[in-house]
């Protein structure tokens, strides 16, 4: 990482307006950093310099003409490779889409570019966003920039690593069961999962449609808020995007936190949590109390069931969504004598081990004879998990928990045991199931220097409040506890 202060949305804007740097020079600076660091980090899968420089030149022209600059003018950003980019290869970190070039942009991408962002390229992730370590990428794992022998978390590991290493000012990730928040935690950057339906998913390659969300990973909370203001809002191309007005996140984020009620569920500090994680998150809560927040002890009794619910529902939805990879319309085709044989051969060669495992599990729980016992039961328990949140938000304005039970684990440490990998999602899947927004913010490091993340949940569509608490925490020095 460079010794100078990291670039932010605000500092890019100020530098452009003061003509200290051009958008083209800034893009060149970031491509230089990527050139130097990406071979060891593997954060980017595809770079899009033509598109980036064309956009940078448009911004520079606006600056030269003295026009009003859009909110993200010149900001170098990275896009997780499960989000479609017109003319730029979108692999989902899978062999089955190795040469897939989308014919259209995701709405979130289109909105970022319209807001002036310079899109540097596509970031590595777990294949089809399935995983918590980035080791399920068909193109090799991402290495955590804080410690190269550690995972960056997943599935948005490339996005988190790129931001943490200064290879992008901010990035888009996606979160289905923790895939923005957990890598944000492992790499030491803020990462926000918005409310279900807050950000259009048009152009997001579907994994689990009742859970998938697009959100930002950024250098600081203000940048995450600035990006949210651009990407949030209804889109008529996504019928699951909510037709609810988007507030001015920047001004909501600056509100004082004094008097806010911070719910602390005991269930997130029970068995299985690393002692140093517990200690740091506890210090984080104490810091919020010193800022005038009131601590409310909570009990959320279905927390312990959320992981089981999640792995039934997410895999069921995945088995259905991934049926489209059949070698007919796009992606890989492996020939076969019959249509069925072609499907089987294509999917056998194209999918990696974790994707196959989830398709198998999801097909099983939806199959005749098991549907009621697994799928329908899991949907009912999902209702109970959501009720835990609804009840908690009657007593508290936000809920504060650890993001993950541990700091970043070692590359290769958990990959052979899928169940152990799934169980590490315990603190993030709860909010995913309830559809509420949640942010992970850094709250210091453990004794070996690995970042620890604190998670802040809010009620549906209360991203502004979540960002407000995160910003106050950041300004009070919470990131460096």
């Amino acid at each position: 990482m460079s010794a100078a202060a990291p670039w932010t949305v605000e500092s890019v804007r100020a530098a452009l307006l003061a003509k200290k740097i051009s958008a083209r020079e800034l893009a060149t600076e970031f491509y230089g950093r990527i050139e130097r660091r990406n071979s060891e980090l593997n954060a980017y899968l595809t770079l899009s310099p033509e598109r980036a420089y064309a956009q940078a030149d448009r911004i520079d022209l606006s600056v030269a003409r003295g026009e009003n600059l859009p909110p993200l003018a010149g900001v170098p950003m990275a896009i997780k490779d499960v989000i479609s980019t017109r003319g730029v290869r979108t692999t989902c970190a899978s062999k089955i889409l190795e040469n897939y070039v989308p014919a259209y942009d995701a709405t979130a991408v289109e909105r970022l570019e319209r807001a002036g962002a310079v899109l540097l390229g596509k970031t590595n992730c777990d294949e089809f966003a399935m995983g918590g370590s980035n080791e399920n990428s068909a193109y090799g794992p991402v290495h955590n920039p804080v410690a190269l022998d550690r995972v960056p978390g997943g599935s948005s590991g490339g996005s988190a690593a790129a931001v943490a290493a200064g290879l992008a000012v901010a990035a888009l990730g996606t979160d289905t069961g923790g895939s923005i928040r957990q890598p944000a935690s492992f790499c030491g950057v803020p990462g926000l999962m918005p409310t279900y339906g807050r950000v259009s998913r048009y152009g997001l390659v579907a994994f689990a449609s009742s859970l998938d969300k697009i959100g930002p990973l950024a250098e600081n909370v203000a940048d995450a808020a600035a990006i949210m203001s651009v990407i949030a809002g209804h889109d008529e191309n996504d019928s699951t995007s909510a037709a609810i007005a988007v507030p001015d996140y920047a001004s909501e984020t600056r509100r004082p936190v004094q008097g806010l009620r911070i719910g602390v569920p005991e269930d997130y500090f029970a068995e299985g949590i690393d002692a140093e994680v517990k200690e740091k998150v506890e210090s984080g809560i104490e810091l919020l109390e010193r800022l005038g927040c009131k601590r409310i002890p909570l009990h959320m009794p279905h927390t312990d069931f959320a992981t089981a619910v999640y792995y039934v529902l997410a895999t069921a939805e995945a088995s259905s969504n991934l049926a489209r990879y059949d070698g007919v319309r796009y992606g890989l085709r492996v020939p076969g004598a019959t249509l069925t044989e072609m499907y089987r051969n294509t999917r056998e060669s194209g999918f990696g081990a974790e994707v196959k495992r989830r398709i198998m599990l999801g097909t099983y729980v939806l199959s005749s004879g098991y549907y009621d016992a697994y799928y329908l039961r899991a949907q009912s328990v999902r209702t109970l998990v959501a009720r835990d949140f609804a009840g908690a938000f009657k007593k508290a304005d936000v809920i504060v928990t650890p993001t993950a039970p541990t700091a970043a684990f070692g590359l290769g440490e958990k990959i052979a045991d899928p169940l152990q990998m799934y169980l590490a999602d315990i603190y993030t899947v709860t909010g995913s199931l309830a559809g509420v927004p949640g942010i992970s913010v850094p709250c210091g490091k453990n004794r070996t220097g690995l970042p620890i993340g604190m998670q802040i949940f809010g009620p549906h569509f209360a991203e502004g409040r979540v960002l407000q608490v995160a910003r106050a925490f950041e300004e009070a020095g919470g990131f460096g506890l």
């Binding site: 049926a323 069925t340 196959k356 328990v381």
Partner: protein
């Protein structure tokens, strides 16, 4: 055992997923462990609980436009990316995708 080798093969067939014999053995053991863990959902009484089919509840109003303001009118809009879509296909002949023969006489 929650799941047998035969069941793994049946599920793979349902999913149109080719698996090597080694993969069948591996998934047999791993799915068994995962399903064993998922069994903890049976500890909960769900007799009076509605399964969650929608994450966010619809708004008020009996008219579909009031209760679902996110839905647009069902009108045709131009979508002229057919050439680009076909160009991405492994085997296409405008305006078709070509697949191995399905119907035999």
């Amino acid at each position: 055992m929650k799941i047998s080798r035969e069941e793994v093969l049946r599920i793979a067939e349902l999913a149109h997923l080719g698996l090597s014999p080694e993969e069948v053995d591996m998934y047999c053991g791993q799915l068994d462990g995962i399903l064993g863990y998922i069994d903890k959902l049976k500890e909960i009484d769900i007799s009076n609980v509605e399964p969650m089919a929608q994450v966010l509840h619809a708004g008020a109003g009996s008219d579909v436009k009031d209760s679902h303001p996110e839905l647009r009118d069902d009108t045709l809009l131009p979508c002229d990316i057919a050439d680009a879509v076909l160009a991405a296909a492994p085997d296409a002949e405008k305006p078709f995708f070509r697949v191995p023969k399905v119907i035999t006489r």
